[in-house]
């Protein structure tokens, strides 16, 4: 026996969100972030019971294949009927109902892309294996995920109106209640059953009532304006959220049995729509601006809303202030905990994914050469089946000159081979400072780390490149996937000491990552071993006269900052290993790590072992 919607304790915000969605499908969907065992999936299933009977509730497994998702040829029916019969996919089956995904962040990027397309159009377009079909698929999406398993693709998250951010369950009484209810559900909770059935019945009635009320609910222009201003203050990307916020407020009002939106409704809309999409804290200026213009406020009071292009109207300003302060109270201490505010770059551990022909998860079968690929037997038979009659005729024409000595003819054009999706290899770029006194030690340990990583690389299909810098510019000692032995030799004879052309090193590393990207290695990690004290500008390479010391220093800093920003923007992971021996004179390397948006590790006497560990 499973728990009903009302029985579930905790996840109050998630419940609110689901109710709003049930009332107003224009909200498109709900994403719920919660830890394992918080009851999120139970909640989603209990939600199904609140919907009118007959509403489809389709669960999408995270490892779904494309043909299961979109539909494909139904071989058996096709052969039996002598005409193409399409077996529709899960998305089509969810039409008019709910599509539920447990593990929204575990969906394959291909699946997410298809899902987004279908959600945008409201139809499934099948254009595969000789089939062409368009059928309706309008559904709302309910997705749950555990943030510990990774992020949800932002494109998908953005399409869902309501987002319930992660909130750790800390209330002990709540936890106790969860356990109690669960036990009574699995044990002899029969006494409660009747009561809970009633509660579910009541909720259903409430939802039905609210749905009827919804089209008549009013929202004032000032209220819409306040929502949009709040979205702007929170740095919400795109214009889609505006509409969702309005729809959420309308749904809340309808659910409360009201015919007009009030402040509480707006607040909930901010909480479930705008706040989770925040990319910045509302700045003090946003607020101050309102206080700086008391005249506007007074004037607005007199001539109400007859000019639309003037400064924000007072009423909406007041509402916005209210919403912003409510938002501020809800904002997590660390804004980066919000899904849209996270840095726009690959986090360590999230490798690129690539289709390949050898390993990983089987995604699809494609036409291809069986040599060096694994043949997908069923898709091959499927591809050959429709042509049998035709080929038989051809064979007869050839008068006994049989092409194949079998009753089932398979030609090379039928062969389908498997394509797998796998973690793509990663490129590690070691950039080692060969200047100064620590250089010899650094080089030795870097070499050890490189060799160690190369040993692992065989398993992970990773590649390692090595760049050293000293004197006037950086030098590539080991291009990715070249001989390790050579790198070792080069490292052994590399002289140390001299200037620190750090900018040149960053530029060289960036170029290496670019070249790798062109070869299909999309994810690169930069491991920079230095004290961060660059003292040779890039321009020296071009043979310009060196400027005055002070100006040169500023120039170097500017160069480093620009290059670091570029590396950061290209989503190249960075790890700065600070080798500055004197703990107190650190400062340059942490700054560099910050510019690179990367990790900072202080390892003055870094050992190969430690480095390799820190990197992988």
């Amino acid at each position: 026996m499973s728990l009903s919607f009302t029985e579930l304790v905790g996840l109050e915000l998630a419940k609110q969100a689901l109710l709003l969605l049930a009332v107003n499908p224009a909200l498109a969907g709900v994403a719920i972030a919660a830890a394992v065992g918080s009851g999120k999936s139970t909640l989603a299933r209990a939600f199904a019971a609140l919907l009118p009977s007959g509403t489809p509730f389709v669960e999408l497994p995270v490892n779904v294949t494309e043909d299961r998702l979109l539909g494909g040829l139904d071989l058996e029916a096709t052969l039996a009927a002598g005409r193409r019969v399409i077996e529709r996919g899960l998305l089509a089956r969810a039409h008019g109902g709910v599509l539920y995904v447990d593990g929204l962040n575990l969906l394959d990027s291909d699946v997410v892309a298809r899902l987004l397309g279908v959600m945008a159009d409201g139809v499934v377009r099948v254009e595969r294996e000789g089939l062409s079909d368009v059928h309706p698929a309008r559904f709302v999406l309910v997705g749950t995920y555990d943030p510990a398993d990774g992020e949800v693709r932002r494109g998908l998250l953005d399409r869902l109106g309501l987002i319930v951010p992660f909130a750790p369950q800390t209330d002990e009484r709540l936890r106790a209640e969860v356990v109690r209810r669960n036990m009574s559900a699995s044990g002899s909770g029969a006494t409660n059953a009747a009561f809970e059935d009633d509660a579910t019945e009541m909720l259903r009635a409430m939802i039905a009532d609210a749905r009827e009320r919804l089209p008549g609910v009013r929202i004032e222009e000032e209220q819409i304006r306040a929502l949009i201003q709040t979205a702007l203050s929170l740095g919400v990307e795109g214009n889609r959220a505006d509409g969702f916020a309005v729809q959420a407020a309308l749904a809340k009002a309808a659910l409360d049995g009201c015919s007009a939106v009030d402040d509480d409704d707006l607040r909930l809309a901010v909480r479930l729509v705008l706040l989770p999409r925040a990319t910045r804290m509302p700045e003090a200026e946003d607020r101050r601006e309102a206080d700086d213009h008391p005249q506007t406020r007074e004037r607005g009071d007199e001539e109400e809303g007859d000019e639309s292009n003037a400064a924000p109207e007072p009423e909406s300003q007041q509402i916005e202030d209210l919403l912003l302060s409510a938002a501020e109270a809800e904002l997590p201490e660390n804004l980066l905990d919000l899904p849209f505010a996270m840095q726009r770059r690959g986090k360590s551990g999230s490798r690129g994914m690539a289709l390949n022909s050898r390993r990983g998860r089987f995604v699809r079968a494609v036409e291809g050469d069986p040599r060096g690929n694994r043949i997908a037997l069923l898709p091959t038979l499927l591809a050959a089946a429709p042509w049998q009659k035709l080929r038989m005729k051809n064979e007869e024409l050839r008068k006994g000159k049989r092409i194949l000595n079998s009753r089932f003819s398979i030609l090379s054009s039928d062969i389908r081979v498997k394509r797998f999706r796998d973690k793509a290899g990663m490129l590690y770029i070691f950039v080692v400072d060969a200047s100064g006194s620590m250089a010899i030690n650094r080089m030795r340990e870097a070499k050890g780390a490189v060799v160690r990583l190369l040993q692992d690389a065989y398993v992970h299909r990773d590649q390692v490149g090595l760049i050293a810098f000293r004197g006037r510019q950086a030098q590539v000692l080991l291009a990715p996937s070249q001989s390790v032995e050579r790198a070792k030799r080069e490292l052994d004879v590399l002289p140390t000491g001299g200037g620190t052309p750090l900018a040149s090193a960053l530029l060289t590393a960036w170029q290496m990552a670019q070249q790798a990207r062109e070869r299909g290695i999309s994810q690169a990690t930069l491991v920079l071993m230095t004290d961060g004290r660059g003292n040779v500008p890039l321009q020296v390479e071009n043979g310009e006269a060196p400027p005055a010391a002070q100006a040169q220093k500023a120039q170097i800093q500017a160069e480093l900052q620009k290059l670091a920003a570029l590396i950061c923007a290209d989503r190249i992971n960075a790890i700065v290993i600070d080798t500055q021996a004197d703990y107190l004179s650190r400062g340059e390397a942490p700054k560099l790590a910050e510019w690179l948006g990367g990790r900072y590790i202080y390892l003055p006497n870094a050992k190969a072992e430690q480095i390799a560990k820190a990197v992988s």
Partner: protein, 353 residues
Amino acid sequence: MPTTVVRSSILDGRQNGKAPLPTTVNYPFTAIVGQEEMKLCLLLNVIDPRIGGVMIMGHRGTGKSTAVRALADVLPMITRVAGDPYNRETVEEGDLPGLGHRKRERIPVPVVDLPLGATEDRVCGTIDIEAALTQGVKRFEPGLLAQANRGFLYIDEVNLLDDHLVDVLLDVAASGWNVVEREGISVRHPARFVLVGSGNPEEGELRPQLLDRFGLHARIVTITDIEQRMEIVRRRRAFDADPLAFLAAWEPQQRALRRRIVAAQKHVAEVEMPDDALMFAARLCMQLGVDGHRGELTLARAACALAAFEGRQRVTADDVKRIAVPALRHRLRRDPLETTDAGERIAQAMEKI
């Protein structure tokens, strides 16, 4: 913004399959608020398809797909041989048996969607399975490229498209012909289309070869003007509440735009590009160090289309300026130390000339 489906309310308990097939209604092109660069790029390609397509990159939720789908409703009609699957204007005798004698018909310029999950055989065309199954005969069944001939081919999330499909598209786009060899059949048919792609740069990189193929590159950003955003919400709500009434209300604007496009198409060939405008375009490309001549060519064609759209006979340097950013922003060399946005660099270069 999604396409709205008339009277298909979700969660209303209607059984799957029993629900009436919804009619899809596109949001009207003329009712799209802001995003002028994107709209202009699309329209210029309608006026002169030789401009070479548009790539639209930008934030999610800014109405990229809405605009492309909406475009279909303001496109003029074309004439084709009745029933020709390749939308050809004339068919040579014996090319497709029976077709040569048919009448002509007027159809709207096709806008074909290439979904991400499409397989190669459906894109390029293949043998008709049904005919093979039931009659044991070989018959070519044209694919999406055939449908898109003389029209638009739209790929949403183009940066996520499979590499092998990208290769096919590039081949066909370059030659204008689609060639299919299967089961002993060899078919070659015209496939000239305007490629329109859209994507979110955050979702994945676009292959440089593909980027080059697009004549224009439009960027769209989140609208930050409150009044405009209010208007977006207002119109969207009105559209969702009653799509047909909304369409009716916008029909005059739609009709006016259609008329303008038809007039511009007629006159674009006669638009003159005086030497000073041409020189300006050439200098701009020199200044920016744009490789090859595709930059100048696109600038010239787009400027002519712009003049035609505005009912003028002569291109001015101002026309070139107005389309310089979308025509060149994807053709600049990437300088690692350059942090200025491509658009700004082009604007700066124009100031210098």
